[in-house]
Symmetry: C2
DNA sequence: CAATACCCGAGCATTTTTGTCGGGATTGAA
DNA sequence: TTCAATCCCGACAAAAATGCTCGGGTATTG
């Protein structure tokens, strides 16, 4: 039940892009330095984000990446799904294998839990947008 | 964001034990046959469940496993945590590594999401108990 | 043209997963 | 008392996934 390093780095990188929103394209080298992430690894992650339409890339000198939408319109869930693919707690829930997963009665019994789990995970990840992540939180006075 | 096969098998095996609750100890061989799971692999999973106090084992001939509590008092979350350990979406949240994970500012920013995610996952897994899993659901007439 | 970036895919070492294998200890029953 | 069933334990191994690295390409700017 772990997220991959790619996802973690992806979200952190997108948080940086959110901070520099509307400052023109930011090169990956910059993000790599700030976040101490391998540049080559970041280069592997960003095509996924681009294909998902979350960032826009500019090639060549003075190029880089920028968010393709305001931070308020990008949810953490968008990033996670872009980098890792759809959330599937068990293989049985992926559309490819769903046809032949209910041989055993207990599979059908447990399936409802995994579906609920998947939906809730997506919910909580979609509740938080990039701007909420980046904006300074007020200190909670009393809990 | 996947659960391991161990967890999936563990929950299915516990569902079988729930069905046979109060029928005396059920040998792993029986569960293995019903669920088409390798006996030897099940033997690897059940010590975890026993150490977590979820099942009671009887050794020797006519031995086997039985739930140590009524199915209503065993939650899916108990099983998952027994087999996989505590839910930690990112390593930064495990107590071992938590001390040195906030060098980068963005780590602290993203941390709140992962904490929320962890809590919600535990919540949804703890909402469902074994008897809810096993009891026949009424067909939904209209959705 | 030279420097700066993004872009692409192959390779690769490590770790994790998913089991297998062989046996030992314990018990109930014939 | 013997035997078969069962849990118990640890080592090992194959396969998959992870987390990168490497070596180039290609577009763009100054």
């Amino acid at each position: 039940m772990k997220l991959s390093a790619k996802v973690e780095y992806g979200v952190r990188a997108m948080a940086v892009l959110a901070i520099y929103y509307q400052s023109g394209p930011l090169p990956l080298r910059e993000i790599a330095e700030q976040e101490i992430i391998s540049l080559k690894f970041l280069e592997q992650i960003f095509p996924d984000l681009r294909r998902a339409g979350l960032v826009h890339s500019t090639r060549g000198s003075r190029g880089g990446y920028m968010l393709s939408r305001p931070p308020s319109e990008i949810r953490v869930g968008d990033i996670v799904r872009a980098v890792e693919g759809p959330i599937t707690p068990v293989d049985c829930l992926s559309e490819i294998n769903s046809s032949d997963c209910c041989h055993r009665k207990s599979n059908c019994l447990t399936r409802q839990v995994w579906e609920k789990l998947r939906d809730r995970i997506n919910d909580v990840l979609d509740e938080v947008s990039l701007n909420e992540l980046v904006e300074i939180k007020p200190v909670e006075s009393l809990s």
